[in-house]
């Protein structure tokens, strides 16, 4: 059984813990063992925190990587933001000894072990596609309900593609393939692949601008007949879920892929934590 350090981040465990319980159950069902990364912090967020001070951003991220290093595992995340920060910092530190030296000096002064440069960071969609396999997901899916889904990749799962090299950043398919294996139809829609609007500190600083971007995406999803939005990032999830409540229109339920798989695998519905969703989920 493959074993990974489960990186929780902030929004999932604190605002949508149903994504966490679903992920734990779904991964167990698929034979992926998740172990907690005791004492991990915020990744820190790649848009907003990296904007303030890149040395601080990198050092806090490196401390999180050291936790996985001590456990002797690679990191698994279900959040595009955590993935971007941890992947990018690991990529920089694993390939650039000078930068690693600089960050290790800060870690040492803070009482943190040296980062050796060997930890890999995985996004769960990529792990499901490449390691677990679409067929294994299909085999577990009992009830797909045949609904139409707007699949939202978000930005930081695949991009920047020059270092992530996961799928075509403009015309990706791996997330859609998993959603379809769960018995749901992924519908094409205009400008699919566009940012939800929340990233880069925009949601915090200018929420009205963020919401305009969200609204345009929602309009395109609705026009395509989407009955559910499926995301692979708690921050996009929050933006679509809370955004629709604010806009007082659309009413398209939002599910994180872990919740969708939980539903398809026939998990106890109470474990999905859907009651905290601001856009009602009647599926």
């Amino acid at each position: 059984m493959a074993k990974y350090g489960f990186f929780l981040g902030c929004i999932m465990p604190l605002r949508y813990p149903g994504i966490e319980s679903s992920t734990r159950e779904v991964m167990e069902a698929l034979g992926v063992e998740l172990v907690d990364m005791q004492g991990a912090s915020c990744c820190p967020a790649p848009g907003v925190m990296r904007s303030f001070d890149q040395t601080y951003w990198m050092s806090v991220a490196a401390r999180n990587l050291v936790i996985a290093q001590k456990m002797g595992v690679d990191v698994l995340t279900i959040c595009n933001g955590c993935f971007d920060t941890l992947f990018e910092v690991a990529h920089k530190l694993n390939h650039d000894p000078e930068m690693r030296k600089k960050v290790n000096k800060i870690l040492k002064e803070a009482g943190v072990d040296e980062y050796q440069g060997n930890v890999n960071v995985r996004h769960f969609v990529e792990l499901l596609y490449k390691d677990v396999g679409v067929e294994a997901v299909r085999a577990k899916a009992k009830s797909g309900k045949g609904m139409k889904a707007a699949v939202h990749y978000g930005c930081h799962f695949l991009k920047p593609s020059n270092i992530k090299k996961i799928d075509d950043a403009e015309r990706p398919h791996i997330f859609d393939d998993i959603v379809e294996a769960a018995g749901v139809t992924s519908v094409p829609f205009k400008d699919k692949g566009t940012c939800c609007g929340a990233g880069g500190g925009v949601r915090a600083r200018t929420p009205d601008v963020a919401l305009k971007m969200t609204k345009e995406n929602l309009t395109n999803m609705k026009a395509a007949g989407a009955e559910v939005i499926v995301d692979c990032c708690p921050f996009c999830h929050l933006q679509y879920d809370a955004g629709q409540a604010q806009l007082k229109e659309f009413g398209i339920p939002v599910l994180h892929l872990s919740q969708l798989l939980g539903m398809a695998f026939g998990l106890d519905k109470a474990k999905l934590g859907l009651e905290v969703h601001q856009t009602k989920v009647n599926l």
Partner: protein, 170 residues
């Protein structure tokens, strides 16, 4: 007659050093602006921002609100025919802006939260209760339940001068 501003190569050099090392490769085609989801909704124009950084127009760039309208979606970065790592350029400019004291209040609050608690989101009683109902540990097994780990995160903030930075910039 409009007065032409003098370029300031010193500022451009600083942008390169701060991480925007590809800024000078831009030839102003505008693929970035045409791809920008934020620019569709606002007057933010990535191409202009990059040009101003190239010319070293510090006063047009660092205090500007436009600098903060990028969601870091990487679409322009992916499509740039010159390989300008635009998000890296924007990050370098934002770091420089924050050092000059340009930081919006909502961002200061977010930064304070991580500096004090190690997380960007708070842990409320209702979160603990819901976690319990879902069969999860009430308090997540993160810095929230590990004071020693939180001390390390705080110490990193101290060493990097992060606390001072968010307290007032400059």
């Amino acid at each position: 007659m409009a007065e032409a501003k003098e370029p300031n190569p010193e500022f451009t050099r600083k942008v390169v050093e701060a991480g925007g090392k590809t800024v000078n490769l831009c030839f102003q085609c505008g693929t970035c602006t045409g791809s920008c989801p934020s620019g569709r909704q606002t007057a933010f124009r990535v191409r202009k921002l990059v040009r101003r950084a190239q010319l070293g127009f510090e006063e047009d760039v660092l205090p500007s609100d436009d600098l903060w309208l990028c969601t870091t979606c990487f679409t322009c970065y992916e499509r740039c025919p010159r390989g300008v790592e635009i998000v890296d350029v924007i990050m370098a400019l934002r770091n420089m802006a924050v050092r000059k004291g340009y930081m919006a209040e909502p961002h200061r609050k977010v930064a304070e939260l991580i500096s004090k608690t190690g997380h960007l989101v708070s842990l409320r009683d209702e979160d603990k209760a819901l976690r319990g109902r879902l069969g999860l540990q009430n308090t997540p097994p993160t810095v929230f339940s590990d004071p020693k780990a939180l001390e390390q995160v705080k110490k990193i903030g101290e060493i990097c001068g992060f606390d001072k930075l968010i307290a007032g910039g400059k």
